[in-house]
């Protein structure tokens, strides 16, 4: 069985979502090729469990536009006779994978959380309120992989061969114009060991400084609920939930977050959940291991002091 894993584009080292997608590939069992679109092909050769790195570093991939990347992936998948094409369920993977699936005329399987066999997978539906087991009848399985559900492959120890593949050219449909990336020295949300998240209860973006201070003490990433993002307290990439990022850190501290289903969908697989909320009836307490009914403006500075 030949498996093609598409790497998360990177300008510096192999990204965590690539490693967890390789973790899912390992569950399938078979020979794994890793397609690196853009720079970083040589670096990826040391990842454990990869037989071959396919490097497509043409100028048309300077920015991973779906219109250009999808035909490449479809071609590589066809030419190599791959039965599985796995993407990380990141905004990159979610953007490109369905385009590939349609080019191959197959029904994609989104956001898998378990591999049962070569054609059967588990995936959450309805904001994680149900888990479906689905079986694909398509000749090629195009899959996106939920990173929190699989163990990451080791970044070192492998010695894959690196083969360069020619690009499929610029489709001439789209252009990259610019980006506004959130700058942060903190760990990435989806791979952080600890996350401190704030909700509408924070009242303003300025008050997030309090969470930053706590996060700095704990080496944590900072996240947020949709309400906090909608209100403009923090940028969109902080959003945890059904339609934001899915996280499962060892410790998740929810501050001033009520615990709507859509938020829980993104964090309820965390190992330990702490909730700080002044409303003792808040649904977040139903999933919290440790709940503190308190005014966050008092409790958070105290907590920051106490963990120091």
């Amino acid at each position: 069985m030949n498996i093609l894993v598409i790497a998360e584009p990177s300008t510096g080292g192999v990204k965590a979502p690539t490693l967890t997608t390789l973790g899912a590939a390992a569950k399938l069992g078979g020979s794994v090729s890793l397609l690196v679109v853009g720079p970083g092909g040589a670096e990826a050769a040391s990842v454990a469990g990869v037989a071959k790195v396919l490097s497509a570093d043409g100028a048309e991939y300077a920015h991973p536009l779906a219109e250009n990347v999808a035909p490449l992936v479809a071609k590589v998948a066809k030419d190599g006779g791959f039965g599985h094409v796995l993407f990380p369920a990141t905004t990159f993977g979610k953007n490109v994978a369905p385009r590939v699936a349609a080019l191959l005329d197959v029904q994609q399987i989104s956001d898998i959380t378990a591999v049962e066999s070569a054609d059967t997978f588990q995936r959450p539906i309805y904001a994680g309120n149900a888990i479906a087991t689905v079986q694909s009848s398509d000749p090629v399985k195009v899959v996106t992989v939920r990173g929190t559900a699989f163990e990451a492959a080791a970044a070192t120890g492998g010695s894959a061969s690196v083969e360069s593949v020619s690009g499929t050219g610029d489709a001439g449909l789209s252009k990259f114009v610019g980006q506004e990336l959130t700058k942060s020295e903190r760990p990435e949300l989806t791979s952080a060991r600890v996350i401190v998240s704030g909700g509408r209860g924070m009242q303003s973006g300025d008050n997030f400084v309090m969470l930053d201070a706590l996060a700095d003490k704990l080496g944590a990433a900072v996240g947020a609920s949709r309400a906090a993002v909608d209100a403009g307290f923090v940028p969109n990439d902080y959003q945890v939930g059904q339609t934001g990022k899915i996280v499962a850190p060892e410790l998740y501290i929810a501050v001033g977050i009520s615990g709507a289903i859509q938020h829980l969908a993104g964090m309820k697989d965390s190992k330990v959940i702490v909730a700080i909320n002044k409303d003792e009836e808040a649904p977040i307490f139903q999933v919290a291991d440790y709940g503190l009914v308190a005014d966050l403006f008092k409790a958070v500075p105290e907590l920051t002091q106490a963990v120091g």
């Binding site: 385009r99 349609a102 197959v106 029904q107 789209s174 610019g178 990439d237 990022k245 503190l292």
Partner: protein, 249 residues
């Protein structure tokens, strides 16, 4: 420019979804149904573009049961001009939805198709991108800003690291994210007016699209339940538990 908007009828986002006892799916009988929230955002964006003079006509389309007429009427009340229901009681998976939309696009020739980024029932996040591939049109997914220009549209996208802006040649696909706009509520007079707007029902067979499902659902179960925890009385007690009991700090 004509805009086509795809809307799906789904279980309302406020409903606590329950898995059926026989594990074949989730309970949908006697459950409140609504327009997929991302599709409300899609309709709103189309209406705003029309109000700004950038669009001439808005056609909304849904693939689903007769009851999806209700969803289409909501879109008409928000400001869409015309509706198409591709009526079927069968399960229609994202690839088949995309193929059906492609057939509608061939008839309607829109300059822009706006969809939600994700249906909150199947949580697939696929149809817009698939339609883009089938039509060989560019796609601006997870949009938080849409600015039509001359022969192109600039779309700002919500991505994992922040925001990204791309320029797409028209015709193009856009899928909506939460920050694109805040959908309006339809006013009573507009709800009344919507009843008179045209709603055409189409037999899927007439479109010549292969709608057979490719995925078989073997079973649907409840997710593992989290053990309820405890309430702590103070920050001090919390820190003690985290250090000595959970050992996570």
């Amino acid at each position: 420019m004509k805009i086509l908007v795809a809307v799906k009828r789904v279980v309302d986002y406020n409903v606590k979804v329950r898995v059926k006892a026989d594990n074949t799916g989730v309970e949908t009988a006697n459950v409140k149904m609504s327009m997929n929230p991302f599709d409300e955002i899609a309709v709103e964006e189309a209406v705003r573009l029309k109000e700004a003079g950038k669009a001439t006509e808005i056609v909304v389309v849904s693939i689903g049961p007769a009851a999806a007429q209700e969803t289409l009427r909501t879109a008409l009340a928000m400001g869409a001009d015309r509706a198409i229901l591709v009526q079927t009681d069968a399960e229609v998976q994202p690839l088949a939805v995309a193929k059906t939309l492609k057939a509608i696009v061939a008839n309607e020739q829109p300059g822009l198709v706006i969809l939600g980024k994700q249906a909150i029932d199947d949580d697939a996040n696929q149809v817009g991108q698939m339609l883009g591939a089938l039509l060989n049109w560019p796609q601006g997914t997870f949009a938080s800003k849409v600015v039509p220009g001359d022969g192109s549209v600039a779309v700002t996208r919500e991505v994992d690291g922040g925001l990204e802006t791309v320029e797409l040649k028209l015709p193009a696909i856009v899928t909506t994210d939460l920050r694109l706009n805040e959908p309006r509520y339809a006013s009573l007079p507009n709800i009344m007016k919507a009843k008179k707007k045209p709603l055409e029902t189409v037999d899927p067979a007439s479109l010549g699209v292969d709608m057979a499902p490719r995925l078989k659902t073997l079973k649907v179960v409840e997710p593992p339940k989290r053990q309820g925890g405890i309430k702590v009385g103070s920050v001090e007690e919390l820190v003690g538990k985290l250090k000595n009991e959970a050992r996570v700090i």
